[in-house]
């Protein structure tokens, strides 16, 4: 079984044309820092409607921070983050909550509510945000759980789930209100190959079947390259490369190639800056 591709899912698929046309998410001139350290210094990117967009980059480059800005949990120091044409940072609290009802997010650690079972976790956003009758909530939740293959696990508690099952439950919960935009924060980290394959396939299938727009933050270059329509590589606060995964693998930039191939040494050196090795070992005064 190969990785699911737009063609293999059998769902009508419109290939991406350009990242600047018909974007659901637009980030422009984004600046943000923490503890005096700049994280973004003029970041620009656009996420096309209906696509799966991968955000990649070395650790600590602010990929998760970017997701938190898209969901309005953090505000930029300068620049804008627009979702569906709305400047997230300028929204009032109730407007922000309205916008969030159109989004779903899968957290790195799943962030399931530990006191609720699987069914109640998936039902939680429905119960809190709608006044649907119980019978309809049940159908909705079971449908979503079935789509991630966990209808039979509805009665289990989060502590009884494996990492992969937890991600799938979180995915069902993120999709339960049929969002337009689904954000995935490191969805593959810590998963065994089978779970990883399942999650990967679900991201592609759900994106195509439900007509979502997906943003996937991931380090797993090889895996995400199989399903992403477009990739952005972020480093030192800016987008250093963007394009289809195949284009990035052939990028003239050494840094991008090092990242895509996972080379240990290159523009990002293996060694942290240090004084001369021999001098330090022999104890020569520095």
């Amino acid at each position: 079984m190969g990785w699911p591709t737009p063609a293999s899912t059998g769902v009508r698929w419109k290939p991406p044309e350009s990242v600047t046309a018909d974007n659901l998410v637009e980030v422009s001139g984004l600046r943000f820092g923490r503890s005096g350290r700049p994280i973004f210094s003029g970041l620009d990117l656009g996420v096309r409607r209906g696509s799966i967009t991968a955000i990649m980059g070395p650790s600590g480059t602010g990929k998760t921070t970017l997701l938190r800005m898209i969901t309005g949990q953090l505000r930029p120091e300068a620049g804008t983050v627009k979702v569906g044409g709305l400047d997230v940072a300028s929204l009032a609290r109730n407007e922000l909550f309205d916008l969030r009802r159109r989004m779903g997010m899968l957290f790195q650690n799943s962030a399931l509510l530990t006191d609720f079972n699987v069914f109640e976790n998936v039902a939680f956003p429905v119960r809190e945000n709608t006044r649907l009758p119980e019978a309809l909530i049940r159908q909705l939740v079971l449908t979503k759980l079935n789509s991630v293959g966990l209808r039979g696990a509805a009665g289990l508690m989060p502590a009884e789930l494996s990492g992969g099952m937890g991600r799938r439950v979180a995915m069902a919960r993120a999709m339960v209100l049929d969002p337009e935009l689904l954000l995935y924060d490191e969805p593959f980290s810590g998963l065994d190959p089978i779970s990883l394959g399942v999650v990967l396939r679900l991201i592609r299938l759900n994106n195509d079947a439900l007509g979502l727009t997906s943003i996937v933050v991931s380090h797993d270059v090889a895996e995400i390259s199989h399903i992403a329509d477009h990739c952005f590589v972020i480093s030192e606060g800016r987008v250093i490369a963007s394009g289809a995964p195949r284009e990035l693998a052939e990028s003239p930039s050494e840094l991008v190639r090092q990242f895509m191939t996972g080379a240990a040494d290159g523009p990002v050196p293996f060694h942290y800056p240090a004084p001369d090795y021999a001098e330090q070992l022999l104890g020569k005064p520095q």
């Binding site: 957290f107 530990t114 809190e128 945000n129």
Partner: protein, 255 residues
């Protein structure tokens, strides 16, 4: 950094935290009507904070009552006034020991539980997930727990007072031989409604204090194991100090 500078720095930090706590309280109060509209959530929290604290409250109350009964009998018998033991015990419990000891025990049992629960929810991104699901954690998580504490502390204080009096009655009447009729009638004679109101006011203020400190510390706990542990410790320390300060302030104001 010199000592005066350190003190100044500490003072500024405390003032900033006080300001943040007041803003947090205002935010909670704004969400209280929405939380009160869901009585099931509130009753669940009254159970978690109040009902589950009953054992420690009742046990402590009985022994505190026995100690007051014993000490009171010893002091009053020197003046040949053992008959007013019931009144003395009741006034001590209603006005001072009941609200204060209940609040301190509540901080140790339920306050720490609230702070660590909320802190862990923060550390495991459960609160962040709620925000992204367009669910306000203040409305859904914080306000019901705060209201639960505000309801629980006065109720627990009433239980503490009742059991404490029973403890004192047991020692005074059953063990030391104080007249049963005198014990109860003197209590009825000397305890006036304002004495009860003072205790009710204190227990309400302590409930707000204990509840606010617990949810504030939990909500703002750094998302690490150490951060949650520190928040739990701060909950007990801060609540205890504030309860004693407020106790003196209210007593001085009402006397």
């Amino acid at each position: 950094m010199t000592l005066p500078l350190q003190l100044w720095d500490g003072l500024l930090h405390s003032l900033r935290k006080l300001g943040a706590a007041i803003l947090f309280l205002i935010e909670i109060l704004k969400q209280c009507p929405a939380a009160l509209a869901r009585p099931k959530l509130i009753s669940q929290q009254v159970r978690n904070s109040g009902v589950l604290s009953l054992i420690i409250i009742m046990t402590s109350a009985f022994f505190v009552g026995m100690v007051i009964g014993l000490q009171g009998y010893d002091s009053l018998s020197r003046l040949r006034q053992e008959d007013i033991l019931g009144a003395g015990v009741a006034l001590t419990l209603f006005k001072e020991l009941g609200p204060v000891v209940t609040a301190l025990l509540f901080a140790g049992r339920a306050g720490t539980s609230l702070a660590s629960e909320i802190g862990l929810m923060r550390a495991t991104d459960q609160l962040a997930a709620m925000e992204v699901m367009a669910i306000d954690p203040i409305r859904r998580i914080i306000a019901p727990r705060f209201i639960g504490a505000v309801i629980s502390v006065p109720l627990l204080t009433a239980v503490f007072n009742a059991i404490g009096i029973l403890g004192a009655w047991f020692i005074g009447v059953q063990v030391m031989g104080v007249d049963n009729g005198a014990f109860w009638s003197q209590m009825q004679e000397y305890v006036d409604p304002p004495d009860i109101y003072e205790g009710v006011l204190k227990s309400f203020v302590f409930g707000v204090t204990a509840g606010l400190v617990a949810v504030f510390e939990g909500y703002n706990a750094p998302p690490t194991a150490e951060g949650v542990g520190m928040a739990t410790t701060r909950t007990v320390v801060t609540t205890s100090i504030l309860v004693l300060i407020f106790d003196y302030t209210i007593t001085a104001y009402l006397l």
